[in-house]
């Protein structure tokens, strides 16, 4: 009797081991996909340009590649509004035709907070460089100077006097690089 039970158990074990388990790779696949998604999100946070719709000017300047300042701001148009995104993923909007800087109060408060934060970090680390308060403006090519004036006024209001317009540099590997004529109006 006991021998028959053992044989029956062995037989059922053999049958079970012969059956394919279709769910076997799923835990590994799910973990792998989740890891990819998390790393993809991390990559987005490392470079603020990734996924940003702003198209900056491509220009050959033959100057040294400068590093980004602490504050990177992209300026573009979304329907009838100016859309600002920063390198810490804050966004601000206002009407594209406005020249009144009181409508940019939230953006001004954000700049004030960032500036204070940078100054405090510099004081604690006892190191200060010009790049720490350098503002990089990535401006979309469809904008006109009219749209930038309120932003420059807000920068001045918050004591940020050193800024630059971002361009995508062409690395000239030819023997002689000639100056290119400025674009047409």
């Amino acid at each position: 009797m006991e021998k028959n039970n053992s044989i029956a158990r062995l037989e059922s074990l053999k049958e079970r081991l012969k059956t394919n388990i279709t769910w076997f790779p799923m835990p590994a696949l799910i973990s792998f996909t989740l890891a990819l998604v998390f790393v993809g999100h991390l990559l987005v946070n490392l470079n603020p340009r990734l996924g940003n719709p702003v198209s900056v000017l491509t220009l050959e300047t033959n100057q040294e590649i400068s590093s980004d300042g602490s504050i990177w701001i992209s300026v573009g148009i979304d329907e009838d509004e100016i859309l600002i995104t920063t390198n810490d993923r804050q966004t601000f909007r206002w009407e594209k035709d406005t020249q009144d800087i009181s409508t940019l109060n939230k953006f001004s408060e954000y700049l004030e907070r960032r500036t204070n934060q940078i100054i405090i970090e510099s004081a604690i680390s006892k190191v200060i460089t010009e790049e720490q308060l350098y503002v990089t403006l990535a401006v979309d090519q469809t904008l006109r100077y009219f749209h930038l004036k309120p932003i420059l006024n807000v920068l001045a209001k918050n004591g940020l006097d050193y800024y630059g317009f971002e361009i995508r540099d062409i690395i000239n590997t030819s023997a002689s690089g000639e100056d290119k004529q400025a674009g047409r109006l």
Binding site: L57, L59, I128, V139, L148, K149, Y162, K180
Partner: protein, 159 residues
């Protein structure tokens, strides 16, 4: 699904261009006489900013106005107190709607030599509102290639 995820990840990572640079400008900073902060931290001192005559803006600072049709240049005084005087400002017309920045620079240098004008390395650039940003950035980049026009202050309100 996995291959799609991997290829999307790889394409997005490889499509970011790393050769970005900036065309810089400055906002003028008013000098002040306040004593340094109590703990001795002073941004002016620590960043070694130069407050010599070459680095201040006054009525003799070079000013360039960029309009749709031409460049106008002169001293800051010629566009402010002497606004109505037609003899102390000059213009360089655009050719086929393209700003002639090289001609502008050569003309300014010739004018400076004739009038014994001392460059202070600062230029006030005043574009009109309708100037597209790509054109303005190219003009600034072209001006900055010369040492005499290294520091550009973007202005508004004069026109």
């Amino acid at each position: 699904m996995g291959i799609l995820a991997i290829s999307t990840f790889a394409l997005r990572a490889s499509s970011i261009s790393w050769t970005y640079t900036t065309v810089s400008a400055k906002i003028p900073v008013a000098t002040h006489t306040r004593a340094p902060l109590p703990k001795g931290l002073s941004l002016t001192h620590n960043m070694k900013r130069d407050t010599s005559a070459q680095n201040i803006i006054d009525e003799t600072t070079l000013a360039v106005v960029l309009t749709r049709d031409a460049f106008y240049f002169g001293t800051a005084k010629s566009f402010t107190d002497d606004y109505r005087n037609i003899r102390d400002k000059f213009y360089i017309k655009h050719m086929n709607s393209a700003p002639q920045v090289d001609v502008l620079k050569k003309t300014i240098i010739t004018w400076a030599k004739a009038n014994q004008y001392n460059f202070g390395k600062k230029v006030i650039l005043v574009p009109t509102d309708e100037i597209p940003m790509p054109v303005l950035i190219q003009v600034m980049a072209s001006l900055r290639k010369d040492d005499q026009f290294k520091e550009i202050v973007l202005g508004n309100g004069l026109i």
